[in-house]
């Protein structure tokens, strides 16, 4: 009897053991690495405090390596230009702060999971972390203790130029629980509101003299392209576009202003005339959603995308747009500024001199455009970094030193770029993008004071659109709102799941039954998952902050 009991217990603990190490994969290794990482961070913070009392005597006697982590694929190993640029940059960095820089790339495939996983290692292998409050998990990571809280003294001592260039209000937007966690990219003009880039010349052929002005025009456009250019796929979308599509539709058909950083669907927000009353258009705007579902069914029937769009992961739509294989690209304005310019390898402009790329932005019909949050790009310091003060010094140079800035953003002058008599950038003769371009993905500290304009860009078109935006935009109103979602996290996760599953079917017209039925079913599921509780909780937090 005893033996049986023993065997049972052994068996139980073996199966449980599997639970602890098997299915939760990273958890244990992450956890053990963490404890030591946290200890390190604490140790270094204490030394910082000591150092900051005596700002003049920054000890840089030891040569250190600073690793900067960014999203985006690593450069092609065949191209050594990034390494060469780094070599020159490191010579300067060594001279100025006795440090060298290394770049750690997080490839776009499953980037969010890999990004968070790399941060979670907390073993001191990463120092600077490029992050964002809307499209990367800046706040969740800050809350989990992955980022080092930056004191004012630290910033003043080690990143003085950055400290000065960012205004006090902007620093406030980078605080969580009174601590600064992010250094924002707040002096860089860019628009990342989404929309469709399309062939303006084809739209005109389709009878849209002013180009695409509405979603209905897009339908006309796609229909025309399908008939007139049978070899072109109107839009070779992959299955991940559903969220932007429905979000864009809602922006175009209401005054909805979403709150960033709650879930990827940005399903909660206020309206332009009543910013601080939280609602979810996905629950309230039923008629609009039904109309969306119907139009997308029509698009699916036209053949805008491939039949198996939901399993299509191999789409290379943006590259295909440049060479005329597709007729539209859904992305943000910044991407369009590239697409509308006649750059090297954009064969649509070589093949057809009438070719033009227009942009239909979400919210065009209602003039609903929200300017970018300043933490759309920001730099954080890893809490596990062994040299946080040197990391700050390096960042300060990358962001504010003209020489370092040009090297890090544009590469070696004469090889990767050159400057013409107007002071604009152009590609030198014999430039080959495969070997002469650099990849640093520095989207966390660009600086308009040091930017050199790209002469190949279609600035006429771009500046027209920017002016239009400036005339209608409102500033992002919720910069200071860092929601505390602990109590509603499980509801939000289930809502994400419902949103994803239904919206994929709705946005690609793959649902069975009528549009009314699928939208009703979707909203019913949202309600039973507790979307109203989440709205109420967010409202309570809003009231506490804004009233």
């Amino acid at each position: 009897m005893k033996r049986k009991l023993l065997a049972t217990l052994l068996c139980a603990s073996m199966v449980l053991g599997l639970a602890a190490c098997g299915s939760s994969a990273g958890s244990d290794s992450g956890a053990t690495a963490n404890t030591s990482g946290a200890g390190d961070a604490q140790a270094t913070t204490t030394t910082d405090d000591g150092a900051s009392t005596d700002a003049a005597a920054i000890d840089t006697s030891e040569h250190v390596k600073i690793v900067y982590m960014t999203t985006g694929g690593a450069p092609d190993p065949a191209s050594s230009q990034t390494d060469e640029m780094l070599e020159q940059l490191n010579a300067i960095l060594t001279e100025k702060v006795n440090a060298e820089l290394e770049i750690y790339y997080i490839d776009w495939t499953d980037y969010l999971a890999n990004y968070n996983l790399t941060i979670a290692q907390m073993d001191g292998s990463i120092d600077l972390i490029g992050t964002a409050s809307d499209w990367l998990d800046a706040w969740p990571n800050a809350k989990k203790g992955a980022f080092l809280p930056l004191t004012e003294e630290m910033l003043q001592t080690y990143a003085p130029k950055t400290w000065e260039s960012v205004s006090a209000e902007h620093w406030d937007l980078c605080k969580y629980n009174e601590n600064i966690y992010l250094m924002p990219e707040d002096n860089y003009a860019q628009w990342t509101n989404h929309g469709y880039a399309y062939r303006l010349d084809w739209a005109k052929e389709a009878g849209l003299a002013d180009g695409v002005q509405s979603w209905e025009d897009l339908t006309t456009y796609f229909k025309y392209v399908k008939e007139a250019y049978p070899d072109v796929i109107p839009w070779d979308s992959d299955g991940t576009q559903y969220g932007q599509m429905v979000g864009g539709w809602i922006t175009s058909h209401s005054d909805y202003v979403s709150i960033d950083g709650i879930n990827s669907g940005a399903m909660w927000g206020g309206s332009k005339d009543d910013l601080y009353t939280v609602y979810s258009p996905y629950v309230t705007d039923t008629d609009s959603l039904v109309a969306f579902a119907e139009m997308m069914k029509e698009w699916d029937e036209i053949g805008v995308w491939k039949t198996d769009v939901l399993n299509n992961t191999a789409s290379d739509n943006r590259e295909d747009f440049k060479i005329g294989r597709v007729a539209a690209e859904q992305h943000h304005t910044q991407t369009w500024t590239d697409l509308c310019s006649h750059k090297e390898g954009y064969t649509i402009y070589d093949d057809d001199e009438d070719a033009e790329t227009g942009f239909f932005y979400f919210g065009q019909e209602t003039g609903n455009v929200v300017a970018l949050s300043i933490t759309h790009g920001a730099m954080a310091v890893s809490a596990a970094s062994n040299n946080p003060e040197r990391a700050l010094m390096v960042y300060d140079l990358l962001r504010n030193d003209p020489e370092c800035y040009a090297l890090f953003n544009y590469g070696v002058k004469g090889v990767s770029y050159d400057i013409n008599e107007d002071g604009m950038r152009f590609l030198p003769e014999g430039y080959n993008s495969a070997t002469d371009s650099i990849t640093t993905n520095f989207w966390w500290g660009r600086n308009d004071d040091l930017e050199i304009k790209d002469a190949t860009m279609n600035w006429d078109a771009i500046e027209d659109l920017y002016a239009e935006y400036d005339s209608i935009k409102i500033d992002y109103p919720y910069g200071q709102f860092v929601p505390n979602v602990d109590s509603i996290q499980s509801k939000i996760e289930n809502i994400n799941e419902i949103h994803t599953n239904y919206m994929k079917q709705i946005a690609f017209g793959k649902y069975s039954g009528t549009a009314e039925e699928i939208v009703a079913e979707y909203q019913e599921a949202l309600k039973s998952a507790g979307i109203d509780d989440v709205t109420a909780e967010l409202q309570a937090q809003f009231d506490a902050l804004y009233k």
Binding site: A7, T8, S27, K306
Partner: protein, 320 residues
Amino acid sequence: MGKGKAVAASATGGKKKRGIRETLWKYRTLELMCLPAIIFFFMFSYMPLPGIYVAFVNYNYQGGIFGSPFIGLQNFQFLAESGKLFELTKNTILYNLAFIILGNILAIFVAILLNEMRSKWFKKVSQTMMFLPYFISQVLVGILVYNLLNYDYGFVNTILVKLGLEKWGPYSDPTVWPVLLVIIHLWQQTGYNSVVYFAAIMGIDAEIIEAAKVDGANGFQKIRYIILPGLRPTLVILLLFAMGGIVKGNFGLFYNVVGTNSILFPTTDIIETYVYRAATTEFNFSRASAVGLYQSIIGFIMVMISNFVVKKIEPDYSLF
């Protein structure tokens, strides 16, 4: 180990004091051979046990497993709140049952076929070819299946169109996936699984088969009365082990083949894929561990039940 002790105890008889030490010494070679396995299980199964605690905390990097705030069963609440727990568990178990039952039947069948093959050359070649899919990464399997089955330019549809037939759209039809997934799984695993049974057949005493031949048994009788009963212990043990993992889905296969195509979820969503989608962006260790614990507890119950059943029917074959 238990048996060894029992035997040793009866052998040494009355001298109980020196019994254990003597036994340990007597079986030192066997113990030494066991040592790597014991160390392995100790390090990877027993040492991480306290880590189960992570399923009950709100994990943060600074606090680590034991420093993070305790939140009780909140991590399990998420699974319950989804309202899908039953459906997910059902899908996971049904798929695994299909995999286990069909997988073993097919593996035994293949092993017997291999055993009956006369040409050594052909036997080796077919064994290798069946074994190969096992080494293909699930990611590639996913791409392979997509290129075979997709609607616009898939291999199958190209042929159907050439034959003047109508196109087939499995990626928008959830009903066909249980069959497809089982087929894919069997294609990948059968070669590997059959090796175990093939080895078991090799282990059957050749004299028995000789004797049967002398008695005039034909090929089928040989299989029916000698080989199949000879495989029974192997089958029972493999089934018992498989039972422990019956609520653990084959994430690689499902995620790579089905992807995030929500049209297919009613028939293809398993616990792993659901948790992956819901928690991947949050990177929530605690929640993942909570799910792992839930799966392990059910796995443990399944092992106990099946062992109990086996013991009732065939006491010799039970694990304990």
